[in-house]
Symmetry: C2
Amino acid sequence: MHALVGADMARVNALILERMQNEVALIPQLAGHIVASGGKRLRPMLTLASARLCGYEGRCHVELAACVEFIHTATLLHDDVVDESLLRRGAETANAVWGNQASVLVGDFLFSRSFQLMVDVGSLEVLGILANASATIAEGEVRQLATVSRPETGIADYFKVVEGKTAALFAAACRIGAVIAGRPRAEAEALESYGMNLGMAFQLVDDVLDYSARQADLGKTVGDDFAEGKVTLPVILAFGRGTGEERTFWRRALCEGGQRTEDFSRALDLMRRHDALTGTLDRARSRAEDAKRALRPFADGPVRTVLSDIADFCVDRVY
Amino acid sequence: MHALVGADMARVNALILERMQNEVALIPQLAGHIVASGGKRLRPMLTLASARLCGYEGRCHVELAACVEFIHTATLLHDDVVDESLLRRGAETANAVWGNQASVLVGDFLFSRSFQLMVDVGSLEVLGILANASATIAEGEVRQLATVSRPETGIADYFKVVEGKTAALFAAACRIGAVIAGRPRAEAEALESYGMNLGMAFQLVDDVLDYSARQADLGKTVGDDFAEGKVTLPVILAFGRGTGEERTFWRRALCEGGQRTEDFSRALDLMRRHDALTGTLDRARSRAEDAKRALRPFADGPVRTVLSDIADFCVDRVY
């Protein structure tokens, strides 16, 4: 992937740094912190690779990749406020360092910056796709608020949360690659479907990692979702397959604010007993296969192979 | 004003209600709460009146007025989280009822909705103006964080805060009226200048009202800014003209978290002694005059008169 889009990605990183500058010093300070700790830039890479897959030869994909990363970064800032998180990838969150107020406002700033950049690019269709994605993300996050501490959440409802909070931006990031390349609607929809399925697989694997020892290697803390009473698919599966006594346990641990030190290992035991983690992974793998299948309309070649490999990697990172 | 744009304003209100609907029930509940308590719809009215002043005869001004109100509403939701406010216009704030998390996320949703509506209208120029205004608002709010509890903030710095957090959206709301009417740049700039000056006057008067008995009549609480340690122009003037002992008082009351019950009346006394409220009002009046002057390029008529009257009313509401 880096071999294919590495040079473009360097331009994206430079543009992100350039466009987060501001005479109000706190903005670049805080934005720089979250951008630096923001991880692997998967979403902007998807935009770059999608544009490349569609034979795009202009320069706007770099701007649009930066837009996608700004939207992602803004949602991370707001998420950490909403979740009251103190750590992200092993580093202090922006809200832990500068407070919730600054995190909310700098998130708003980055979100606006993203739309300014889109206006510079000048495609109303792209603006529409990313405005829709932004609304869907917020909708998914609000939906998640309603599922927190409700282990009886249905699988379909949970999938709607994930479609919103995670997959919508993956889908949009891929779709806009086809749109700026001026490709026909069918190709834009194929890339959107690739991104949507990849995003679902990505989030489901993230959900598993929060209950997995491998997590610590990735610089994340294990058990955050559990500690926050977040209902994810592993919990939904274990709860649904559990006995009455087990359901009482889940309700007490996740809903009633009475978590004890030993609860997390009990949760892991129950998930093992009911194949909740493997069940979640099966669904992730199935979505990754759907993502790969969505790429079929495109000619075989190095970019398609890389996008296909990303889908596999996304699931394989558990092992 | 209502006679001139009342019918359009009814359409704006209907559109706002329509576009805040969502199958996630919390979104329309929370948005409905803030929209209902949001006050006098001054900003969208400015868009309607500006379009009318420019002879616009289409229907997009209604959509754009709704965009402006959505942006304003989103910033109110985030402001109340940032300020930890419990009351707005005498009613409980959304964060007091539904919590900070929902307020942050529904704010994000409304902000995205605003951009979706703009995309429907399809003017890249308008999108650019409102994206710029949104970034400037966030910038102004972050700038304000840095002035909180610093009574030695300079007047010029404070004006930059107000230009951002308040006047930028007034300016954009007016400018887009000229843009959709296809008027020349000079008229767009004249309306922008009207809005910018009106917004400055509006905020300075708001700052005065927070220290004024008249405030209670308007359904707001008096003394909020003071209680939050917010440094506004009346404080800056009183502090700048104060003795060493008085400055010690301001620092203790606003910065060191040691406010006592009797401090607010002492603050009022000092403001009276140093003409801090009248000094702020003088500046507001001067900005209102600038706003009226900016309207000169436009032919005399009922719309211009109404816009001019709004500038006067904005200052006169103190008395």
